[in-house]
């Protein structure tokens, strides 16, 4: 598990049970210069992180098996410096308190605004590509 050095491409892991969402997120972030991997559920996500760490994990909340909140809490527990975001269409699913307790950076609403999403990720990821 190596930390990203200045100039290296930030590593993103996107987790959602919806293929269309993963595909669209990839498209949105295509030109942002990130190295992007995807997973369909929490278990796949944790396995992917075992293989290689990620600088930022963006996860859906309502998924079969573990919820996004539980998944990101686990990610934070294993690697506290990972930046985590929850993305959900149902803002009432998770409270602000729960987000803070889990150390999650924020809740991105679905449908998301492309510009805002890019801006948010740029602002939290160090050494954004030129």
């Amino acid at each position: 598990m190596t930390e990203p050095s200045r100039g290296a491409r930030p590593r993103l892991l996107l987790v959602d049970d919806e293929e269309g969402i993963l595909s669209a997120l990839r498209r949105t972030l295509r030109r942002e210069g990130y190295s992007i991997r995807t997973a369909r559920n929490a278990a796949e996500g944790l396995a992917a992180l075992e293989e290689e760490a990620a600088d930022l994990v963006l996860s859906d909340h309502m998924m079969p098996g573990m919820t996004g909140l539980d998944f990101l809490s686990e990610v934070k527990r294993r690697r506290p410096q990972a930046i985590c975001f929850l993305i959900s269409g149902w803002s009432q699913a998770v409270t602000r308190g729960e987000l803070e307790k889990a150390g999650i950076g924020g809740l991105i609403p679905k449908p998301w605004d492309d510009g805002q999403l890019k801006e948010t990720l740029r602002s939290v990821l160090p050494g954004s590509p030129s």
Binding site: G20, I21, R30, P64, G89, W90, P111, W112
Partner: protein, 552 residues
Amino acid sequence: MRGVLRVESSFQPVRVVLVEAGLSGRRSEAAETLEQLGPGTRVDRVTDAASCRARVSTVPVDLVVLENTPAARDPSFLRQLSALGPPVIVVLHEAVAGDSLDAIRAGATECVEPGPDLDSRLTALALDQVRQGRRHREHEEAERRIVELEDYTENIVQHMNSALIVVDDSGRITEANPPAEEVLGAEPGTLAGRSFEDWFVPEEDEATLISRTLEEGHRFKGAETTIRRSDGRRVPVGISCAPMKDRRGRNTQAVVLFQDLTEVKQLELQMLQSEKMASIGQLAAGVAHEINNPTGFIHANLHQMNEYLADLRRTWKVTSELQAQVARGDLGEAQRVSTQLSQLAEELDVDFVYGDFAKAVRESQEGSERIRHIVQDLRDFSYRDTGERVEADVNQCLDSTANIVWPMMKHSVALAREYDELPRLRCYPMQLKQVFMNLLVNAYQAIEGRREAESLTEPGEIRISTEAQADGIGVEIRDTGSGIASEDLGRIFDPFFTTKEVGVGTGLGLSTSYSIIERHGGRIRVESEVGVGTSFQLWLPTRVPTPEPADD
């Protein structure tokens, strides 16, 4: 003779008005005779026509006896007396030929000729007249009461709120009241003589209740059927039929009471609809999520496709320039633009853009198709029933209902479907879907409850199975949820009974479901074990149930 004419013990005291000839102060023989008519006999003695008339018109008088007075020879007085009712006996003291005939002619009932045994003849005549008079009055009274009774009955029939017809054994209507005309949509006074089958149409070889009443003597109470009004409109009615027997005990007529249930049915449908819309509220979160996801990626894709389009425009612009150079034959410049094009294609990754553009279009189409489906399912589910039975596929009803509930439960439930091949069922499909939805939502909530309580990560299971049976269709919805406590099992079909948190359920789901299944003539039963799960079993008869006779 007096002894012979003993009066019966039930003899009511007689009241006689006697018009005596002059006030001699001495009681006339007639007065003495009349006082002996029976116990309690009262003789009012007067001396002139006016007093007599006054008496007769104010008190009930059994008999008027006139002695040989001017009044007895006054035809107009005699006529007035007989019009007032009591019999009139004229006592003649002198035998004058033709007197008695004159008296009778003038209006007297009887005459007593002078001669021996006058008192006994008077007694006999008086008693006879009193009896006859009384019998006559009783008869008149009875007739009056019959007329009154007829009027009374007719009044009730004509003014009651329910529609009433009487049908004879040939199926002709013999009697109908205004409400019947109104419900059937017939002009006033046109029902009598028509066949009841012009409105009460037998459905599907099913004899009407009226025929069954006429032919089998059955009695039906509070049954429901549909009539076809004169204007062709079909109207639901509540109907009660009773056979009317003649003196020999044969069923010759049917008395049919019915009431337009259109409004009642509409209220019922409104009630069902409210319950349904309330239950749809529980699905809102799941449905919103289901619509939100594809909306999310379609939205993002559109944005990206717009950028792809800009990239492709840029390459096309350079391509056009290249074409122009080639056309002009300026090969050196063409070479330069061609290199520029290659650089641009590499910079924009045009091959990828083409491929991903197509993929984005395809994914967006799939997404919008999903939105269309869920909206369609929801709309189908929200439709009102028309209130008439239609043929439907119960498996399909289950499927389309499960589709709406699925988004809500897909993260915590595995849904298994075991469908048997089913005959089509004449039913109220929207109402059945409502039952299925109530049961599926309950099953899901029970599973959620158990998963939360026991911190389970594995999904629960809902198993929907159907079975074609000899006389109907069986449907089972079984879940692996928390189960229902045995003390609650007896109350779950009660209206407003709920164990859910405030705002989660209306408490009407199962009671509504129960009445819907009852309306189909079916049955609903439940088996449950806490910590294991619950099974709801429905049975729906294939044949539309006909009303059972309510014979005593």
